[in-house]
Amino acid sequence: MLILHCPNCGVMADETELTAGGEAHIKRETVGSDDAAFEQYLFQRENPRGVHFERWRHTSGCGKWFHAARCTASLEVFGTYPAQTVEPPKEITDKITAKRPGWSWRSFS
C-alpha cells in the first residue's frame, strides 16, 4: 500500500484516497509545434524500473493535485512536492541522488 504525504493539506493519505494522474512534468505542446513534439506530448511516456515522477490528486481529501517522486521497483517514496512547478525541487533530487546514485529520468538527474 502506497502512503503519500499531501503537501497541500498535510495529511498522510493512503493510495485509496488518491487518484493517480500519470507522469509528471509533461510539457504541453500547442499551436506551432511540429508533429514530433506533439507525438512526444501526447503518446510518449516513461515506464521506468526505478526512479519515477508522478502526478497524484488527493481526491477524497482536499481535492488538490501534487507531485510525487518514488521508486517503481521498491515502492520507496522519495518525497512529494506541490504541483506548481515544472521540475522537481533540489531537496527531492538530492534525496534521490543519496539513495540512487547516478539516477536519471528524462532531462533530470
Binding site: A13, E17, S60, C62, K64
Partner: protein, 187 residues
C-alpha cells in the same frame, strides 16, 4: 412553502456506538484566498468563531468554521439562519475574489457517540489514533465508497458529514460498523 426535512429524519441506531442523524444543519461553502483579512472577518463575524488553522475546525454548538482545503472553508450555522448569514457573508465579500454558496440541503450530518474511533477506523483509511487525529481536527476522507468528512470534539464524540444523496448508504455503513457483536476493541 414546503417543510424542509433532513435526509433520514433524525434516524438513530444504538450499537457499541450510538449513531444518530443530526437533522437539518446550515452549511455554507466559502472558497477564496484564506489569508485574506476581508474573508477572515466575513466568516468570523458570521459564526462568532475564529478562523481555523489548516485542517482544524472551530465550533460552538451549531456554529463553526472548518478548514476544508487550502482555498475552501465550511461555515456552519443554525439551519434557520442560513439565508441571512449567507447574505451577510456575500455583503462582506463584495469586491473579493471569493464565493459563498448555501449547501445545507446537499449534506447529511451524523453524530457518533461511544467508541466512535473504532467505527470510523473500519470504514475509512484515516489514521484514527488520538495522536494522529486529535479533537478539533477535520479529516476529509472516504467512508467505504463515498467521500465524507469528520471531526471529534473534546469528549471524543464525532460529527460525520456526507452528501445527502448517500445519507442512507452512510447510515447503513455506520450501523453495520457499530454492530454490538463487531467491536474489535482496538481503541
Amino acid at each position: 412553502m414546503s417543510e424542509a426535512v433532513s435526509a433520514l429524519k433524525s434516524a438513530e441506531y444504538q450499537g457499541f456506538a450510538r449513531v444518530s442523524e443530526c437533522g437539518l444543519r446550515g452549511m455554507i461553502t466559502v472558497r477564496g484566498d484564506l489569508a485574506s483579512r476581508k474573508l477572515t472577518k466575513a466568516v468570523e463575524d458570521a459564526t462568532g468563531q475564529q478562523m481555523p488553522k489548516p485542517r482544524m475546525v472551530n465550533t460552538d454548538g451549531p456554529s463553526g468554521i472548518a478548514w476544508m482545503s487550502p482555498d475552501e472553508l465550511l461555515v456552519m450555522v443554525p439551519y434557520a439562519d442560513v439565508t441571512g448569514k449567507l447574505a451577510q457573508i456575500d455583503k462582506a465579500l463584495a469586491g473579493e475574489f471569493a464565493m459563498a454558496v448555501n449547501v445545507s440541503d446537499a449534506r447529511a450530518v451524523f453524530a457518533l457517540n461511544g467508541n466512535a474511533r473504532e467505527v470510523l477506523a473500519k470504514l475509512s483509511p484515516a489514521d484514527m489514533r488520538r495522536s494522529a487525529l486529535p479533537a478539533g481536527e477535520m479529516r476529509r476522507t472516504r467512508l467505504a465508497q463515498v467521500p465524507a468528512a469528520f471531526f471529534a470534539d473534546a469528549d471524543d464524540a464525532f460529527t460525520v458529514v456526507c452528501f445527502r444523496s448517500v445519507a442512507h448508504y452512510v447510515f447503513d455503513l455506520l450501523k453495520a460498523a457499530s454492530d454490538p457483536s463487531s467491536d474489535v476493541g482496538y481503541f
